[in-house]
Assembly symmetry: D2
Homo-oligomer: 354 residues x 4
């Protein structure tokens, strides 16, 4: 009811405020007897972590997971897996001068309207810091899915107006983490880096698009009529901070196409029914058809910029405001592991439901 949980069979509940003692979560419904790979988990977390390059926020977070329950001798018990990640680098004083004003395109104003007050220490629950819990849960989901030969890969498709052109099937996934902006096309990656550096210089920020591919899902995952696989993926993606849009398969481009071009003819290969094209994005009628699932998520430019902006205080008085502190010039870069994590949680949930 209060929106802090997602999933039906695999349920992730997150808790914690950006400037409280920790961010944490409870994963309920994770099967018993699964071995946990802690190295993989920390690698995943380090992808989300600020400070990994000069192109992302320089906020320092150690991001070490402590498990509180549900795992014994490295194996899951079938009971709820609770975990926390301590908040190390909280400097609430940074936020002192924000107490009375509403930062433009942040949630300061809307939270105030909803709760009657707000946690003046920072974003509270609205902070992207909350997503650290999603990445922990996502890493465990990925580990489970990998045993089912399901693999999830996300990368940056575009930043501002700079866009990688290759089809996802042509990219070299090993290039993703080699690029500090997580774009697998080295040439385009270079341009993106330059653009972000320009943004930093100008005290501005830029939007971007993350693309995600899910390989190895058998036909039959997803539920009619409301819990269609892409509808649950869409909700999960749109719940990520700063997400503004979601489409799958040919997505918004499909709206410009004709049926004769968009339809995927069936074929037969290696004793298996396949589609000869994959405009559908691996999902038909809300249910997976065994082809690659792929989708895109649009992220807005970070609202925190170092340029002076016009805003109001609680009484509606016009105020000038220039942000301080450490923030991301391009959210999409650090969103990549979060997109993968949310995808893993949804796919595992549907896997357990089917």
């Amino acid at each position: 009811m209060s929106g802090n949980s997602i999933g039906k069979r695999l349920v992730l509940t997150t808790f914690g405020e950006s400037h409280g003692p920790c961010i944490g979560g409870v994963i309920d419904g994770y099967p018993a007897g699964i071995s946990i790979d802690y190295n993989h988990l920390q690698t995943e977390l380090s992808k989300r972590r600020p400070g990994q390059s000069h192109l992302v926020s320089q906020r320092e977070e150690e991001d070490k997971v402590e498990f509180l329950s549900g795992i014994y001798k490295n194996k899951t018990l079938g009971s709820p897996i609770a975990f926390i990640v301590k908040n190390k680098d909280t400097k609430p004083s940074e936020y002192d001068d924000l107490k009375d004003i509403y930062r433009p395109s942040h949630s300061d104003y809307t939270y105030d309207m909803k709760y009657g007050f707000r946690d003046e220490r920072g974003g509270g629950r609205a902070s992207a810091r909350e997503t650290v819990a999603r990445v922990v849960a996502g890493a465990l989901a990925k580990q489970f899915l990998l045993k089912q030969n399901i693999e999830i890969i996300a990368f940056v498709r575009s930043i501002g107006k700079i866009s990688a052109k290759q089809h996802f099937s042509e990219i070299d996934t090993k290039n993703i983490e080699k690029s500090p902006v997580r774009c697998p096309d080295p040439e385009v990656s270079e341009k993106m880096i330059n653009y972000i550096e320009k943004m930093i210089e100008e005290g501005d920020s830029t939007g971007g698009v993350v693309e995600c591919i899910i390989k190895g899902v058998d036909a039959g995952l997803g539920e009619p009529v409301f819990d269609k696989l892409h509808a649950d993926l869409g909700k999960a993606m749109l719940s990520i901070n700063a997400a503004k849009g979601f489409d799958y398969g040919r997505g918004f481009d499909a709206a410009k196409m004709t049926g004769s071009k968009h339809n995927d003819p069936f074929g037969y290969k290696n004793n298996k029914i396949i589609t000869l094209t994959n405009n559908s994005g691996g999902i038909q009628g809300g249910i997976s058809n065994s082809m690659d699932i792929f989708f895109r998520v649009a992220f807005k430019p970070a609202p925190t910029i170092k340029q002076e902006q016009t805003t109001v205080d609680k009484k509606g008085k016009i105020r000038k405001f220039t942000a301080q502190g450490r923030h991301d010039p391009c959210i999409a870069v650090r969103a990549v592991p979060i997109v993968e994590s949310m995808a893993a949680i949804i796919i595992m949930d549907h896997f357990l439901r089917s």
Copy 2:
């Protein structure tokens, strides 16, 4: 768990197959003592109904609602509101030659994989016929919201590559229903009609984009962190047949923008805090900010076309196939009332949750 329900406080469950006796639904959580306007309800249904013009499917459906419970002397009782809409024009024999083959980009194959068999009478639950139940529930939700001065208006933004250019605030909403393609720009509407007629002639279909505006929502609706208002709207929209994408505010365009351009400065007008621009689409941090909420939904071209296509039968043998029967050349046109209905259900659910 089986995906036939949506909402947390206002819960809609739908039932019925396209070629069974009826489509129906149960609305649980609708408050007691609300008067029902049956005329409005039937008007809403007639917008979704096939056969309303030569530009949509000619399948005949009377679409008359029968209420089974929850209403007495035209007032809601607070108990579940169950209703059915009988299926009148079912000709399962039309589907006889489809028994063994999988229609391209339909759900025939995926349902077969999920359930081990499928309702060979037609789409079953996957048929867009199911959305009649959504429109009934949506009409009741709209009636409730109107008492709260919340209004929901959708229209066709684009068909194929033809697109209305005006900002939604400039359109004359009365023009929507005057246009057989529900595009409020008369000139563009004419072009769209011509294009759809061309599609019909060629036995083809076209995609389109529906835009929706929600006016009158106070600040404070929506829940952190997973049930963000736009995330729930997104899931609801993506659960509509043929939907391929959803974005809100500046959406995918925001990914190309800088923060300094995208941020909405706050202002103060008529004793109320407002934003001077509305790139955010009326939602910040997942919670409404009292500005107009607006979003777009992309629909693919209908998969049923009258051109010959390549497909396979259950054994994987290649087969040629040409669709018969009565189908929509452009799903987006009839999707307009469904988009409005799903929006109404989600907004009412969050209204009751807050």
Copy 3:
């Protein structure tokens, strides 16, 4: 949220008021491909039906089920199974003189307080008529469970102070339906009949206890820590009209025992771990242990009696009142099939969850 649904994997939602057009339900989560036995279903319904003997309410209800969805050619489709049972014998005029007063120990007053008004045509949702939907769903659940060799048998253990003494393992279940009061001990049954006839004569009613046994459940059903198998059974039983108590295994008697007497020693028989006694009632730590599950449900005497009673009207004015109409002198008798039905729904839900 509004309490009209039960179950997590198998979800039953009921709708309909006692004096509206019908009572109905939607069963979501019932697996695909199961054959439905309509004769069994109607037999189950006839056990609940009023008018089956002079010892129960003489209200006439035909109680014929109509399925609206989810079944095709006698097989379940995996989609929601919606059904209705029409209300035939509604005489709302019988209730005319009840409009302004609150019947003692009925829900008239509490519904009025909750909703601000009430359906003056009779009990509305509070009427035991609603349980007809539970019996339909229960019959389908029983049919599913029987394929898993799970059998559910309930009977009347006591009426007033008259009680059958045999242990459930010693009773001849064939005697249950032979007895018009559903007590398998013929001698005790005779005494119960006489007592109920006395109640009818005196215009009074009597309470009773129903006992239920579930045979064939393998070890491992039930969930820690809140959804213990007996906790879900208890809630389901307590949700039946007029239920006042639930206990399982040795139940309230266990509170008088010592651990050395109550503990069930383990044994080994036919290559299977068993318990040598079954004080636990087939459930340990909330999870089935493969022994027979058994429990008891206490029902209060029907509140409708033909003796004059003191009550108040809506304004609090003292009024005298004598009930008219057709009612049950002993609710427990007709509760037997309802107890079995709710047990079947809960066991099937947990079966599908595990």
Copy 4:
């Protein structure tokens, strides 16, 4: 789905194993802006704590709550309240000789059957240690309810065959905590103490009954038809370790009564509609009627006794077994604060739902 959560609007999820690092919980849906009284909270916890007298388990647990989220400057934020209570006195080695055998009437066998293995360190999730999380949540719920003038009081009604005779309205509630067995009748309390001491001496245990009263609930709480207030209370009580039965109002005794004796006549007093008797237990048709709500919970004797018992090992071989360690001779005594806590959680949930 996995049974670790309870409530719909106020949702408590618990996590943690008895011999893991901690027991904890997440409370979602607790309103914003409520001040927390930590002293009251610790007092509640100390009532549940072992070692409080020689009549209960001597296991040492400090039971200090640490809040991880949801509270800032002693006020709730409206976000999930996560908390842990560290496990201090875990001596898993005590359980070494239990690894291969199943303790009679414990959950060792059923957990093994469910999960395929079990946490050999002790009861894991099945341990009553889990209830510490319920008491934390219950204390916060009580603090909320007290502001609504709702008070919840439980006490020991009987131990073995020794029973307090007074009606709950006649007892002096201040006597409850004065009695080491929580029985407010000093004379009966003395007899109970002697009986428990006898049990300790004999290495045996005893069952008992806890009674609970809820005062100050207005008319209108509870939901038809499945989430009746007493049905939700019943489930919550039956989910407590060792609970075997639940009844409310006259409960099982009502089954022996006639309607003319059991019905509660309405009256009018102080401008308020009341009932002149309260056999109904404050609930009619599943909805509160503003009279005191009261119910009883039966607890079995603790299965751990110091007498030799017969059991089997994992292979079904018969084994003799005598329990070691620190355990409760009468669970009912320490169950009192747990019963109150679960009652508070359910009442607050329904309060927020209404």
